[in-house]
Amino acid sequence: MLFTSLPFIVFVAALILVYYAFTPYKERWALLLMASLAFYFFADPRYLIFIGVTALTAYVFAIITEDYNAKRKAYLKANKESFDTDSKKKYKNTTARVTKLLMLLALLINLGILAVTKYTNFVIDTMNSWRTEPLSFVNIIVPMGISFYTFQTVSYSIDICRGTIKAQRNFLKFLLFVSFFPQLVQGPISRYEDLSQTLYEPKKFEFQNVSYGFMRILWGYFKKLVVADRLVIALKTLTESPDEYKGAYVFVVMMLYAAQLYCDFTGGIDITIGIAQMLGITVKENFNLPYFSKNIKEYWNRWHITMGTWFTDYIFYPLSVSPTMLKLSKWSRQHLGNAVGKRVTVYISCFAVWLATGIWHGAAWHFVVWGLMNFVVIMASQELEPVYAKFHGKFHLKEKKGYAIFEIARTFLLMSSLKLFDCYRDVGLTFKMFGSMFYTFNIGKLFNGSLLELGLTSADYEVAAIAIVFIFLVSLYKALIGEDIRVFLYQKYPLFVLVCVVLLVSTLVFGAYGAGFDASQFIYNQF
């Protein structure tokens, strides 16, 4: 189900009404669970089996692990005297090993389901490229949001193994954590320790919370409907006939897609977090003004944050601090010199992270290459840092205000170029199109009215441009003042209401929806 579909909007409105008007405070989580299961059921009843199995696996293994650990610990405590330091260590190690084994088993099952549903056809397709007799594709359903909820359960299982969280003993409550419906469409990937704080005992009705949430939802719809769904029309035209639209058009694609993806993705997250906030639940932020980043690393700390931290916490760190890697690091420093040796582990871990990130984004090679390109760019900028430092030592550009803007623009252009993989969806083609920007000179074409033949009228471009400027100004406010503009507006409540009305009405009028505009799917829908 899409955020922009009418049934979804009605569903959420009805839920909020029932939630506050007819549901006792203590039972509100149960209503959320029912709503989430209903959401899934109406999308496709078979999805329930998948999400149920995944949740049950993580739930059961967590309890077994925790009970086992508690029992071992209690035994150790009770028989303190009979252990010396060595045997105590040994006993503890056995506990840790079994715990780890249990975790791996849980991960195997849940990541296995994800792998089979999402990647079987990808593997077959890849194999077919060298097989003489092509294998036929299998018809597997890909449950909505499987990547999101699988990652949530994986982090839960790992955290249980690490002992940093307490297991949820109520299966239904745990199921709610896994299936909480607003985040099944586009994320974010919540951690149990974060979400559980408000999920089971949400805040009571608070006017401010509900107002903030409501405005946030409107803001999300505004971005999505007025900008993203409008620009997607021109983007489709441009990317479906790459031979026709080369050179300067590729730059147009870059710019349009940067705006489209940003509005679509952050808009979706706004809707998710807004709904949660209206329900009194706090969901972690997923974006922090990514286009104001001054370098790639910073960009990835600000874009799709919950995914980035997930990969850092559960792949990058464990891999780089694993005994094997530490040994490797030591060895390479001894044999390859300090400068190279220090980098080896980081490089390998980072490579693994970006490979995984690429694959996570979609079962296709262009995503893998996209991920690895990110790896290359990050490593390159890491390596160039000393060069930069030298440069800045000489020229003192860094203190100049304009330099920050240059850095922001550079990062934005770099990241937008990488996004071309997602536009053209083919590795070879993407390189070809990117190259054409430099050898096909047709800038003049952009000004002879050909942009009006992409499916958008000049009025469409005007509306999108005004909306983008508006979105930029709101972002700028946050960047400069350091505070959400809602805080300011809420203090002047009549203004707050007025802004809501303007947002609602202008989204309804200027939104690209309904006959003439088929609502396009959210980008991260089947991730």
Partner: protein, 75 residues
């Protein structure tokens, strides 16, 4: 402790690690730095910091990091 500060200084010579308590929160140390620190600490103190300890609370200040190392040494 001094040795630890030395490790940190190697990474960022321009930071006052004795007083700073927001190394992570202010994004002074990034994930690459943390991995470097872990591997240096492993070398010099023979202490393996497991992944589960790689949380902001343990890396926000040199003091916190030192406490972590001491705690792990005891185990």
């Amino acid at each position: 402790m001094d040795e630890l500060i030395e490790i940190l200084k190697d990474l960022h010579s321009d930071v006052d690690f004795d007083t700073c308590t927001t190394l992570i929160d202010d994004k002074i140390l990034d994930s690459f730095d943390i991995v470097s620190i872990v591997s240096e600490v492993n070398d010099r103190f023979d202490v393996a910091i497991p992944a589960k300890e790689l949380v902001p609370e343990n890396f926000n200040s040199a003091k916190a990091l030192w406490d972590l190392i001491s705690r792990l040494e005891e185990d």
